[in-house]
């Protein structure tokens, strides 16, 4: 029997709600009971008579169950990778530490990077949050291809397990860095099956990402509710659409590159090696393999990947700032076009990671890289514009967003420095680059990612996270973050190279490394507080209601957690914030792009000049 979502019952009831105070029915799952997969509303008419227990999870095609599975798996990977980072930091606390062997150190930094980038930051955003939130935000009953969505998750989970298997095989895990540069990653330089396991893990997660990208684009193009035009979609959904397209551009290149690398390792091909080339007058011909080809392929994936890891988090911030500033987002269309511009430019800048190879077109890549600062600057301007003259509420999600703004600003400014070839030549492969990279990605994936977690958790589970503990988490993480990464800029400028397990003791590097290690442990402690917070909300649930933040977008219109197929009824969609319009029918409409002061006067009902 086909389970068809019928929208004949989606007419909005005529009585307008009034926001937080009169939030209607609360559907709180029983304590210790089930997650949102059981969020059925009695009488909804779509009761699921399918399997129960573990089989229910294995067979579920509900985007909410899959989204939560993605999030939980990626958070587990985040904690694993964080523990690896602590070992790395401990090793570097003293110049000639014997905590880890050089081989173990190489394995740890490779796996730390691989887990964080491939298995946490991306899947948490486009597999977890996007899967859960995008169909809700556009008023869809599910993703466009539910079974493909489930397959994506199983490929991601098995890919993650395969990656972790590396620690159990003879010879240890992959140890050639998360970028797997040829010829270091070939069978001669990195023998053993750790590298092969790493490649297969990324092939699995690569296909998972591609399928998710297809699903996101198809869902957003085809399953929007009536009236939800493209330019009424929440900015988070816009960013996920652009991310989906970027995934389709970038991931096939990585996956095919990995297959070629595997062939080089095992089937005797010489795609990324110069071995076996014919020499013509002492020089290799241009028909033979090239290690540089790997860098071209990898970074054609790798740089869009940075934005695949950033754009979803920009979207999260753009959702949260207006809600906690009590204003619509400032410059909605500017945000959308800036997102598209960042994505388009990011695909043309891959070789700025390869400046020092001496084999790339410096002015082209430098110019396009610097150009990305313009749309990113527009986004910053609009984020500040959103908060300007707003009635700011400093709840945990808002604090994390402000933390993101500061962290990403610092990472972004040093990014502009690195886009300039002379500076890049001086700082390439030093801790300066490590600090830049971590400030960008910690700013996005961690600050903004956990802002999203605190923000949408009440929707996912129908219960609140403790705001006080959340603030402790934020402030400790914020202090730890700056303490960890600012000294790395300095020690990088002093010349400390990245990916070293020991360093000379007479160059003054140790004190900076000690500071960095202390910072890393403060961050780790802050994440223990998050676990405590999750535990507390599980044991002593505080009901959230449907719309605890008096938020704007459609997902806050339905119950928390949402029922099967998400909506029993929908409000009329007449702007990009339909839930707000419905809950505040007498509020002064503030159109896009209106100047902040005019909006402020309008709210106070003062005459507008």
């Amino acid at each position: 029997m086909t389970d068809v979502a019928d929208v004949s019952d989606v007419l909005a009831p005529p009585v307008p709600g009034t926001g937080v105070e009169e939030a209607p029915d609360l559907h709180l799952p029983a304590p210790g009971g089930h997650g949102p997969e059981d969020g059925h509303v009695a009488g909804h008419g779509h009761e699921d008579h399918g399997p129960t227990g573990i089989l229910k999870w294995l067979t579920s095609t509900d985007h909410k169950v899959i989204g939560l599975s993605y999030m939980i798996t990626s958070l587990v990977m985040f904690y694993f990778a964080g523990i690896m980072a602590l070992f790395i930091r401990l090793q570097l606390t003293s110049p000639h530490s014997s905590l880890l062997t050089f081989g173990q150190y190489n394995e740890l930094f490779t796996m730390h990077g691989s887990l964080m980038l491939y298995l946490f930051a991306g899947p948490f955003a486009f597999g977890g949050l996007a899967n859960y939130v995008v169909p809700l935000q556009i008023g869809a009953p599910d993703m466009a291809f539910p079974r493909l969505n489930a397959l994506s998750y199983w490929l991601y989970l098995t890919g993650s397990i395969t990656m972790m298997l590396g620690f159990l095989v003879a010879g240890g895990a992959a140890s050639f860095g998360w970028v797997a540069y040829a010829p270091l990653s070939n069978a001669t330089s990195s023998p053993g099956i750790g590298g092969d396991v790493w490649i297969m893990a990324l092939v699995l997660t690569g296909f998972s990402a591609i399928f998710t990208g297809v699903n996101l684009v198809a869902t957003i193009f085809y399953l929007r509710a009536p009236g939800m035009t493209m330019f009424r979609m929440p900015v988070f959904t816009w960013n996920m659409l652009v991310t989906g397209i970027l995934i389709l551009i970038a991931f096939p290149v990585l996956t095919s590159g990995l297959v070629m690398l595997f062939c080089d390792r095992h089937f005797g091909t010489h795609i990324f090696t110069v071995t076996g080339c014919h020499l013509v007058n002492g020089a290799v011909t241009n028909t033979c393999g090239s290690p540089l080809l790997w860098q071209n392929l990898f970074w054609f994936f790798g740089h869009p990947e940075v934005y695949i890891l950033a754009l979803p988090f920009f979207g999260i911030v753009t959702e949260i700032l207006p809600v906690f500033s009590r204003k619509p987002v400032f410059g909605y269309k500017g945000m959308v076009f800036a997102t598209m511009a960042i994505a388009a430019l990011s695909t043309g800048v891959w070789a700025h990671h390869m400046f020092t190879t001496g084999a790339v077109l410096l002015p082209f890549f430098s110019f396009l890289s610097l150009l990305i600062a313009v749309p990113t600057g527009i986004k910053f301007f609009n984020w500040i514009g959103t908060m300007w003259h707003g009635q700011l509420i400093f709840n945990t999600p808002m604090l994390f967003c402000i933390g993101f703004l500061l962290a990403f600003l610092m990472g972004g400014v040093t990014g502009i420095m690195l886009a300039s070839p002379p500076i890049d030549f001086a700082t390439h492969d030093t801790y300066f680059v490590v600090a830049h990279f971590h400030q960008v990605l910690f700013g996005t994936a961690v600050f903004a990612g956990f802002a999203g977690l605190y923000y949408w958790y009440p929707k996912m589970f129908g219960r609140m996270l403790d705001d006080k503990l959340g603030k402790w988490h934020f402030w400790l993480m914020f202090i730890g973050f700056w303490l960890t990464f600012m000294p790395q800029y300095v020690v990088g400028l002093l010349g400390m190279p990245r990916r070293v397990a020991s360093y000379p003791s007479n160059l003054g590097w140790q004190s900076y490394n000690v500071l960095s290690t202390i910072g890393a442990f403060i961050i780790a402690f802050s994440f223990a507080i998050l676990l405590w917070n999750l535990w507390k909300s599980w044991r002593k649930p505080v009901p959230a209601g449907d719309n605890p933040w008096d938020a704007h977008t459609l997902e806050w219109f339905t119950t928390s957690p949402p029922p099967h197929h998400n909506y029993t009824h929908l409000p009329p969609i007449r702007s990009e914030r339909p839930t707000w319009d419905y809950n505040h029918p007498d509020a002064v409409a503030v159109p896009h792009g209106i100047a902040a002061e005019t909006a402020s006067r309008a709210r106070k009902k003062e005459p507008v000049a």
């Binding site: 399918g50 599910d142 539910p146 509710a225 939800m228 595997f262 009329p572």
Partner: protein
């Protein structure tokens, strides 16, 4: 579907221009090939969407004044549960690690994939509910 088509066509035009500039400035093969591929990725689905936009006109989700009631009716078939994605995932997992741990694993791997393909096809024909 005009906006959707425009986004993808813009992608094609942008990477077409960038690809041409890049080729005549650098004469580098790998990057040019990938930029041309990206350009095609924009034009191929973009022109398909544009074709359907011309044929279908505006859908309810493209109209600013559409009411929720106008979207009434069946949206799509959404299977509530299906074991086949899990079976296929396990099949892909076993097949891929067979290349690392022993090629004999490819037989159970491919068997799982074929079983899942048959299962998912039969399930779709039946209507998507196991």
């Amino acid at each position: 579907m005009r906006v959707e088509a425009t986004i993808l066509l813009f992608l094609g035009v942008f990477f077409g221009i960038v690809g041409i500039v890049y080729w005549f400035w650098s004469y580098e093969d790998a990057g040019t090939a990938m930029l041309v591929g990206t350009c095609t990725l924009g034009f191929l689905p973009g022109s398909y969407y544009f074709f359907w936009h011309r044929r279908m006109g505006q859908r309810v989700e493209d109209r600013e004044d559409a009411s929720i009631a106008e979207g009434a009716g069946d949206i799509n078939s959404f299977p509530s549960s299906s074991i086949w994605p899990f079976v296929m995932g396990m099949g892909a997992f076993v097949t891929l690690i067979s290349l690392v741990f022993g090629i004999w694993l490819i037989f159970p791997g491919i068997s799982l994939i074929i079983t899942a393909l048959v299962g998912v096809t039969a399930e779709s024909r039946r209507g998507g509910h196991i």
